[in-house]
């Protein structure tokens, strides 16, 4: 790790350091989480929470956020997945309460059709324009009397 010019505070540096230390621990501790037992469940929670938006943050996923509501919602996710619900059902659960806003992968509906179609349509349209241009140019070429002299222009 890069040197940060940090001084180690040794023992006995006084009440200030102890108070500060207590403050630090208080801030760092949240809901005391025991060692998390089920890696498969945790992986599902992690994957799902990466796709869901933290509603009180400025554009962060539930996975990346440490906000209280984010933690509550992750806990909710974990409980529901553990109870046997599918990812889709949990997603629906949140959308019913918070709207489509909570999904980072926008659902496919009439209002988002353009969003999902455009990335496919744009390059195809561009290539179609190129194609038609080339066809037209070749048509004009055929009309020209002089044939084009070939010749490899090397790089």
């Amino acid at each position: 790790m890069a040197e940060r010019g940090v001084q180690a505070v040794g023992p006995g540096t006084g009440a200030w350091a102890r108070r500060a230390g207590a403050l630090l621990l208080a801030l760092a501790a949240g809901a005391a989480a025991a060692a998390l037992p089920d890696p498969v469940l945790e992986a599902r929670v992690a994957r799902l929470s990466e796709e869901l938006r933290c509603l009180v943050c400025r554009n962060q996923s539930l996975a990346d956020s440490d906000a209280e509501l984010a933690r509550d919602l992750k806990r909710e996710l974990r409980e529901q997945l553990a109870a046997g619900r599918s990812e889709g059902e949990v997603r629906d659960y949140l959308v019913q309460r918070y709207g489509d806003f909570v999904l980072y992968r926008p659902p496919l509906k009439a209002s988002t059709a353009l969003l999902w179609i455009a990335p496919l349509l744009l390059p195809l349209a561009g290539l179609a324009v190129l194609w038609s241009r080339w066809r037209r140019a070749r048509g004009e070429d055929d009309e020209d009397a002089a044939p084009v002299q070939g010749g490899e222009g090397a790089a």
């Binding site: 790790m1 801030l27 938006r53 554009n59 990346d64 489509d100 926008p106 455009a118 490899e152 222009g153």
Partner: protein, 665 residues
């Protein structure tokens, strides 16, 4: 007193920029050498003023002059000097001043470097730059003035946001802005070309190095931003498809299309419409990005504090600049003319498809970024568009692009022979397929990931093969070092940049496929297993930094019983801003990164940490660095600095427009 000096210098820069913007333009129009001669001294004078303005703001930060309101909001007595200096661009007003300061720098560079340009053309280029700068200075003076005083001056400032107290903050914005602003030069060249009707080798030969340099800076700036986010934000992510990140990616994608389009324009005289429009697009995207980040229309962790009034002013400015340039294009498009023809299977046509794909990618990112806003503005509800969407739509665009990347350099200009190309490439294809299959099986990759690796090998192999061919083509018995030196800079640039793409794609594919996270809960002395490693918590302590308190733990990372690394993650508390922060510990290696961050510290001294194993993470950085290096090397190619040789537009099938141009110029 000194801030007032800077303020005055800024005010003075405005009429200078206006003079630069208007007089040489008139001079070029009416053939007045005297008016055109205003350009260079005006450019140098405004450069001096902006340097003074920026310098005094930096000075105010360095001396913690809290009577300047902006300084009080972004610095603190306990803040170390280099972060105080970086605080200059830590907020909206100062970063905008930096933006304009860098623009002033580019203007001086163009003024000094344009001695070989025909005078009217140079005058027009500088004039366009001057007008853009005048607009920005006016905007700053009207609503975003960093020199405003606040009385009474507070005893101590608010402190720079702890997230920004990092070496990344010192370098990232300046580097990024060098890129954003650098595209204004290509923009100015394009507008000057439109005004003058000159689209010949002079235009392209001059535009190329400036554009390559700007692109290289932007690449470096994005790299640094991503690298910084990776270690700073504490959870191992490095690209979030956040609005502000997209605002930098869009000019980069368009810029990549531009540099390739320029290559065709310079070498073959073609792609003129593409080059002009792409130059306008790149800079427009830079301006759009500036608007998005500062106006509050989009929600982002990186955004500056929102102010709709400021946003409206910026939008108006953006509308004027882009509107005028597009109108100019529409009006003068007939003068642009067409370049020489080329066959449907040729390097040009592949680059054309390349352009289409890159512009589509740019448009896709733009659509995704703005779509929530569009729906909301139309009253159609609120949605979010995030990483899952972007990743889903960008990949199908990038895959064909990567394939073409490998093929393109092997095709001849104008008309390529399919047979020759196949002969040159089939070995490479075979190797790439082997890599895909072998890696896919050995690492249990998904088909998509295996394809990604195959394409990475394809691209990297193509670049190296290109170099090998060049080196082999030298006369026999030339020593290897002389052969390497004989390879022109532009070619080295191509090789490095394309190799970088391959390395980058390999890195991304492997990280995404193979990364894993392990949660451990340890007390001092305990160890836990994480993948092939064992993590042991050795001891903990409290530290005091210049403006923060930290709880730090020392971990040892063991592999097969031996200590491989020592990791010291921290949880910090910044006193002035009352803000907690997580400092991750990273052990970087050639084949993997180990990323350790503290989730919580329970009252009974139990440290809950998350350890990420990210294979080949370093390749992501290395790949982008190679790309930036390639751009820089290409920009420095001495061939581009020699005066262009006047030559006929094309050997065969000249277009009537180009003949007419040649007759007039």
């Amino acid at each position: 007193m000194i801030p007032e000096l800077g303020h005055f210098a800024l005010i003075l820069a405005l009429p200078l920029a206006l003079a630069l913007g208007v007089l040489p333009l008139l001079g070029a129009r009416y053939g007045s050498a005297r008016l055109m001669a205003v350009a260079r001294p005006a450019a140098l004078a405004q450069g001096l003023c902006m340097a003074l303005a920026l310098g005094t703001l930096v000075h105010a930060f360095a001396t913690t002059d809290f009577s300047v309101r902006y300084v009080a909001e972004h610095a603190n007595r306990t803040l170390p000097l280099h972060y105080r200096v970086a605080g200059t661009w830590g907020g909206h007003e100062g970063s905008l001043l930096l933006w304009v300061g860098i623009l002033a720098g580019w203007i001086v560079a163009v003024a000094l470097g344009s001695r070989g340009l025909p005078r009217p053309f140079a005058a027009r280029v500088l004039a366009v730059l001057g007008l853009v700068e005048a607009g920005f200075i006016a905007f700053i003076l009207l609503g975003s003035n960093p020199f405003e005083r606040g009385w009474p001056a507070p005893a101590d400032g608010r402190d720079l946001n702890p997230l920004l107290q990092d070496p990344g903050m010192v370098l990232h914005p300046p580097l990024l802005y060098m890129g954003y602003v650098g595209f204004s030069v290509a923009f100015a060249f394009a507008l000057a070309a439109l005004i003058e009707g000159r689209f010949d080798a002079v235009w392209t030969r001059w535009t190329r190095p400036w554009t390559l340099a700007a692109w290289a800076f932007l690449t470096g700036g994005i790299l640094l931003g991503s690298f910084w986010a990776y270690y700073e934000l504490g959870w191992g992510g490095w690209w979030f498809w956040d609005a502000v990140e997209n605002a930098s990616l869009m000019p980069w994608l368009a810029g990549t299309a531009l540099i390739h389009s320029l290559a065709v324009s310079e070498k073959r005289g073609g792609f003129r419409h593409w080059t002009v429009l792409l130059a306008i697009l790149c800079f427009s995207l830079s301006l759009l990005g500036t608007f998005l980040v500062r106006s509050g229309v989009l929600s982002s962790v990186h955004a500056f504090a929102a102010d709709p009034r400021r946003g409206a002013l910026l939008l108006a400015f953006l509308a004027v600049v882009v509107g005028v340039s597009l109108a100019l294009y529409g009006w003068r498009a007939a003068q642009v003319g067409a370049g020489p023809r080329f066959a449907p299977f040729s390097r040009e046509s592949l680059l054309l498809v390349n352009n289409v794909l890159l512009v589509s990618a740019t448009a896709t990112v733009l659509l995704g970024t703005l779509y929530p806003l569009v729906l909301d503005a139309l009253g159609l509800g609120r949605i979010s568009v995030g990483a899952p969407y972007f990743e889903a739509v960008i990949v199908p665009l990038m895959l064909p692009l990567l394939f073409l990347l490998g093929v393109g350099p092997f095709l001849a200009w104008k008309r390529a022979e399919a047979g020759t190309a196949w002969r040159r490439l089939r070995l490479l294809l075979f190797i790439a397929l082997d890599v895909a299959v072998a890696a896919g099986v050995a690492l249990a990759l998904s088909p998509l990931a295996a394809l990604g690796l195959g394409l990475a090998a394809w691209v990297a192999g193509s670049a190296l093969w290109q170099l090998a061919q060049r080196v082999a083509a030298a006369p026999a018995r030339t020593p290897i070092w002389r052969r390497l030196r004989a390879v022109p800079g532009g070619h080295w640039g191509l090789v490095l940049a394309h190799l970088g793409v391959g390395v980058f794609v390999a890195g991304v594919t492997l990280v995404k496929s193979l990364e894993s996270a392990h949660d451990l809960s340890l007390r001092p002395g305990e160890s836990g297993r994480a993948g092939a490693y064992v993590l042991r918590l050795v001891d903990t302590r409290q530290e005091r930094g210049p403006n923060y308190l930290a709880a730090q733990a020392r971990f040892e990372l063991l592999r097969e019983g031996r200590v491989v690394a020592e990791l010291r993650p921290e949880k910090r508390f910044y006193v002035a801003r009352q803000m907690p922060m997580t400092e991750a510990a990273i052990d970087r290696g050639f084949t993997r990164d180990v990323y350790l961050s503290i989730a919580e510290i329970t009252p009974d001294q139990r440290w809950i940490v998350r350890m990420h194993l990210k294979p080949f993470m370093g390749w992501i950085w290395a790949g982008v660095l190679l790309m930036a290096l390639g751009g820089a090397v290409s920009a420095a190619d001495r061939r581009l600095r020699r005066a262009p040789v006047a030559r006929a537009e094309s050997a065969c099938a000249p277009s009537s427009t180009s003949l007419a141009n040649a007759a007039v110029s």
